[in-house]
Symmetry: C2
Subunit: 398 residues, 2 copies
């Protein structure tokens, strides 16, 4: 076992404008470095209450069961699905990208029957398509409809309200992925009638990755209580986890990731200090400026007008451009991270995240300048400054 | 949705001498607060390699698959078991406390048949008992033997080598829980022939909770590849997780908890700078001093001589003492956290952790002084200073 002890931790400075993680506010970094109390300490239990209250405010729900799962966003997805789905259950999954595909995979691993409504990548699901799928199964025969609010792999913004109403009219529970949307565009858990909604911390909440906010409606909890089989995951069993988070119970389940809870608490304070409407407007403004800028570079958005996510700008790479070389140039030069395409979009798109703390004018200008220079260096014919000028026109009008 | 925004994060200062989390070194807190790079950043991939190398050194293994699962120690337990156990598989589980019980629960949720070898709480498993259980099933009919190295609920230190040899002789894989032992007493994954070994970060590694180190042998990986059914968990699927951690692959699976990986890297550097033998000796010394001190207060260890964990001192509460009041007094006075009993030991024992950074002379003296004062205030007849004198005799001889 030959072994060399690594040196000091000294990662490079990065501007995180990819699909997540997003830039983290210094106050959140400071919260992370706070010395720990125990996970059953009376003060930590208060901190958990505070986090629950702020999560309810951000999810726009009064659900008692509103917690942070001890894992990343994908653990939230798994928690939402494995608690609700029993072997044999039919679940309609809207699949319009990587994350819808993942939902269907998890449903199948839980023994459920995943009925996929396939939507071209970059598009959103027409309510008629969902209605068809539900009608084919017959009313009351579908346990849940699962969909992704903000498909991080395509940048498409799925309208939820109508799909959710359809699902409920057919007696199905609604499972919604808001990993990328929460804190960046409106999410209305109670208003839309969503039964299980999960998110991640490293997108528009601008907290490091490691926790998955999850809220469950009374209907979802009833469904869990009515299960005939145990939840296949002990770690993610909502009943057990709830007994730890429930005020007055606090039954030991597993050791909470205390430092991450500190960080999430501070990140949520920042979100609510800014206020949700102002935060959503900020995300919209900077996305508009960015899209104007990249249009001047010859990049069109992947998602259709009216269905574009402001925090995840998925744009087509101009023909003939070596897109991976551009990303490498951004990382090795100014230290800017943007994302490439996933699955069928690999090599065809860039995914530029303006999430949470990332959605700032200086970041928009920095990434546009870096992209313009990288394209000029690949021999593209562009007027220097065109991208920044286009963005500045948006800011001037704002 | 009435809502009050919580104030500044200002938890009380605590000396963490319970069953975990343990005190975190300032260097680890500083690592936590390091600004993030992306989870696919070339530098982060190097950091993952460094963490893997240090985990191999601490686990004493050359296993290629040696990673940190994105969850707490219990997620490590679930990952080890759900990857190996298929529906119908027989798994012999040594149950001598809370964590053995949990292993059996997870085996059952994975569709396995958990054959429990029940051992009285505080005792260790006699090899003859395991041999009987294996013989009853017949050679080659048991998929795995699962056991806990350091039972955190009782303070008992299970000798692993002989049990592991028995398991392998019967053709069974060996699954070992080292959540509380790793970094505090010798763990020899390759030397003992362990096939799946997991731990947590918040015990003797003195890192905040949130990651679960996991190592799998080639035999374990073969068993996973030979599965007839998919792993029930997508999040913990070792095959998918391995493709992210494997050098040269780095296939996106889920967003790694970057800040926690930073922290673990620094915690492992501290462990290896000290050196494993010195670290083990330090844990032994301070445990000996603590046990001498609490003996002067009338507290005997729960585990038998020769089978006591140095990092988790589970001691009997003297008759007539209100143990919960003592713990409250320690927390509200000097701010010292110690643990109470779990399950059948609730109300009967204290669990005093001297884990990682916690195993220091000043902490032993602080907790003994606090316990002595709390007992004196409950009217016990004790000679003031008796506990500290007994501990000092140990230090004077060391």
């Amino acid at each position: 076992m030959e072994f060399h002890l690594p040196g000091e931790l000294a990662p490079p400075s990065r501007l995180l404008l990819g699909p997540g993680p997003s830039p983290v506010h210094p106050r959140v970094l400071r919260a992370l470095s706070t010395p720990l109390v125990g996970h059953l300490d009376p003060r930590f239990l208060e901190i958990m209450n505070e986090v629950q209250g702020m999560l309810r405010a951000v999810f726009r729900t009064e659900n008692g069961f509103t917690i942070a799962i001890s894992g990343t966003g994908s653990a939230g997805m798994e928690a939402a699905l494995v608690n609700l789905v029993e072997p044999g259950d039919a679940v309609v999954v809207v699949v319009a990208g990587v994350f819808g595909t993942r939902m269907a995979d998890i449903v199948a691993r839980a023994g459920g029957r995943a009925i996929k409504v396939a939507v071209p990548w970059g598009e959103v699901c027409d309510p008629g398509r969902l209605e068809e799928a539900l009608a084919r199964e017959g009313k009351g025969n579908v346990k849940a409809v699962a969909l992704v609010h903000a498909e991080t792999s395509t940048g498409a913004h799925q309208p939820v309200d109508e799909l959710s109403q359809l699902a409920r009219a057919h007696g199905a529970l609604v499972v919604l992925d808001t990993v990328t949307s929460l804190g960046g565009v409106p999410v209305e858990v109670d208003g839309w009638g969503v039964d299980a909604c999960y998110s991640g911390t490293q997108k528009c909440l601008s907290c490091p990755p490691g926790l998955a906010p999850l809220t469950l409606s009374a209907r979802a909890l009833d469904a869990i209580r009515a299960r005939k089989t145990p939840v296949q995951s002990w770690y993610l069993d909502a009943g057990l986890v709830a007994d730890y988070w429930a005020e007055g119970k606090r039954v030991y389940h597993h050791t909470a990731p205390i430092s991450m809870v500190y960080a999430l608490r501070e990140a949520l304070r920042l979100v609510l200090e800014e206020g949700l409407p102002a935060r959503f407007a900020r995300h919209r403004l900077h996305s508009t400026a960015l899209l104007a800028g990249v249009a001047a570079l010859g990049c069109a958005p992947q998602a259709a007008e009216g269905h574009r996510l402001p925090m995840l700008n998925c744009v087509r790479v101009p023909p003939g451009v070596d897109e991976a070389a551009v990303r490498r140039a951004l990382l090795s030069g100014p230290g800017i991270e943007i994302g490439g395409g996933l699955g069928p979009l690999a090599g065809q798109v860039w995914r530029i995240g303006l999430m949470g703390e990332g959605a700032r004018q200086e970041n928009v200008l920095a990434v546009l300048a870096a992209l313009e220079l990288a394209l000029l260096r690949q021999g593209r014919e562009l007027r220097p400054g065109a991208a920044l000028s286009a963005a500045m026109e948006v800011y001037a009008r704002a």
